[in-house]
Symmetry: C2
Subunit: 239 residues, 2 copies
Amino acid sequence: MIQHKKISRIIEKRIRDHIYPPLSKIPTQNELAEEFHTSRVTIKKAIDSLIAKGLLVSNRGSGTFVKSNPLINEMNFSGDSYLGLTATMGTEKGRISSEVIKFEIEFPNLRLQKTLLLEKSQPVYHIIRLRKLDNEPFQLEHTFMPIEVIPGITMEVLEHSIYSHIQDTLGLKIGSSFRIVKAVKPDDFDKNYLLCQSDDPVLEVEQVVYLDNGIPFEYSRSRHRYDKGGIVFNNQIER
Amino acid sequence: MIQHKKISRIIEKRIRDHIYPPLSKIPTQNELAEEFHTSRVTIKKAIDSLIAKGLLVSNRGSGTFVKSNPLINEMNFSGDSYLGLTATMGTEKGRISSEVIKFEIEFPNLRLQKTLLLEKSQPVYHIIRLRKLDNEPFQLEHTFMPIEVIPGITMEVLEHSIYSHIQDTLGLKIGSSFRIVKAVKPDDFDKNYLLCQSDDPVLEVEQVVYLDNGIPFEYSRSRHRYDKGGIVFNNQIER
DNA sequence: TAGTGGTCTAGACCACAGG
DNA sequence: CTGTGGTCTAGACCACTAG
C-alpha cells in the first residue's frame, strides 16, 4: 500500500470518527510528518487527496481544518463509482440484482467506431442489462464493448460482474472514465423495463471507460429512474 | 503563476495543437525536467493534472501518452465550471444574458440552516435568476446566500456577476463546490420561465459552494432545460 | 515575529515494460 | 539489462495569518 494513501485513510477515519471534529484544526503537516515517520511532502499528498474529497480545507498561515459538510454521508461513493452508479445507492450491494435483456454481437456504427477507435470490421458486444434494487428496477444500461479488447464475455459473466471479469480474469486495469449527464424523455425500453410513465424524466449517463493504458473499452448509456438516486460529486475550483 | 501549473498549460497546448499528437508518447519526465529547467517532481505534478483532465495517461516502464479522446472538444469546460454551468455551453459568453425573477431577503428554513451553518436569525438572500442563451431560456437558478457572509448584493450585482462581486469587490476566494445531479419533473416555475411542457424532463443541479476557508456561502438549485446541455466530467479510477 | 501551508529541488530507491 | 514512471526524503524558500 502506498504510504500517502494509507495515511490519508487514517486521517479520513479520524475525521469520520470525530477524533478530528468538524471545523476543528488538525495537527500541522510537520506534526503529522513526525507522527507517521515520514516527510512533509508525503503528508501534503495525503491531505491533498482529502481536500479533493471535500473533507478538509487548508489555509496558508493558519492551518488545515475539517470541513463541516452536512452532506458528508452522501459522499461514501468515493472509490467505486466505476461499478456503474450502484455505489451512490449506498453499500447495499446484496440487494442489487441484474437481468440481461439483450446480449448480441454486432458491427459498430460510425459513432461507435470513432469513440472506441475501431474499424467497422471489428465486432462489439451489445449488451442491455436491467438493474434492480430490492427487485425494483432503477437502471437500464446499454453497453458496447469491442470483442478484441474484452474477449470471453458470457451470460455467466454478465450475471456476475463484467468488471471483475476484466480485472480478475483478463488481468486488465481500468484507468478512467469520461461521462456526460443529461435529463431525457423515456424511450420505449425505459417504459418497458424501468416502468416509466411517459412524463417521467430519465437521468442518462453516457460513458466512455478507458483501460489504464488509455485504450477505450466501453461505451455505455445508463438510464436511471428519476426517483431512484442522483449523481454526487465534489469540485475543487481552479485559481 | 505557479510553475507546475504553467508547465501543464504549455503541455496542454502542445496536445491541443497536435505537437504531441493523439496516442503519441510525450518526452520522458527527465527530458521535460531538463527542458523546463525544473525538477522531476514538478513535471510529475504538471502531468498529473493533465491525467486528471483526461488528456494524458502514464504507464510505468513505458512512458506517458496522449489519450485519444474523441470527446476532447467537449472538455473545454475545465477551470470555470464554477460560473454556474454556462461553461458547458462553450465559450460563447457574449450570447448569455441574465434576468432577475426574484430578489428578496428571508430567514432560512431548517434545511438551509444546517447546510449553510446558520442560526434561524441570520437572514439570507433568496434570488431567482433566469439565464438565456441567444434570448432562449435554458437555466433557472434558485440561490440562497447568507447576508453576513456575502454582504452588499444589489440588483446591479445580480445583473453583472455575483462571483466577480465575491472575488473582486469582497476579496473572497471560492474554494470548492459539492453537487448532486438529478432528473426531475418541471414545476410551475420551470413551466413559466423555462417554457417547459409538462412532460419535459428537467436536469437539476443542487449545489453547495464553499469559500477557500471552508465556510459555505451558497446553496443553489439550477434547473436546466433538458435539450440545452448536460454536464461533462472525467474520473480517475482509484486502485 | 513566529508558525503555517505552498512550492520546489536534488537525489534516491522501487516496480514495471521491453528488448 | 536499461529506461521508464511512482514514490519518498530532507531540506529550503516563500506567502500568508495571527498575535
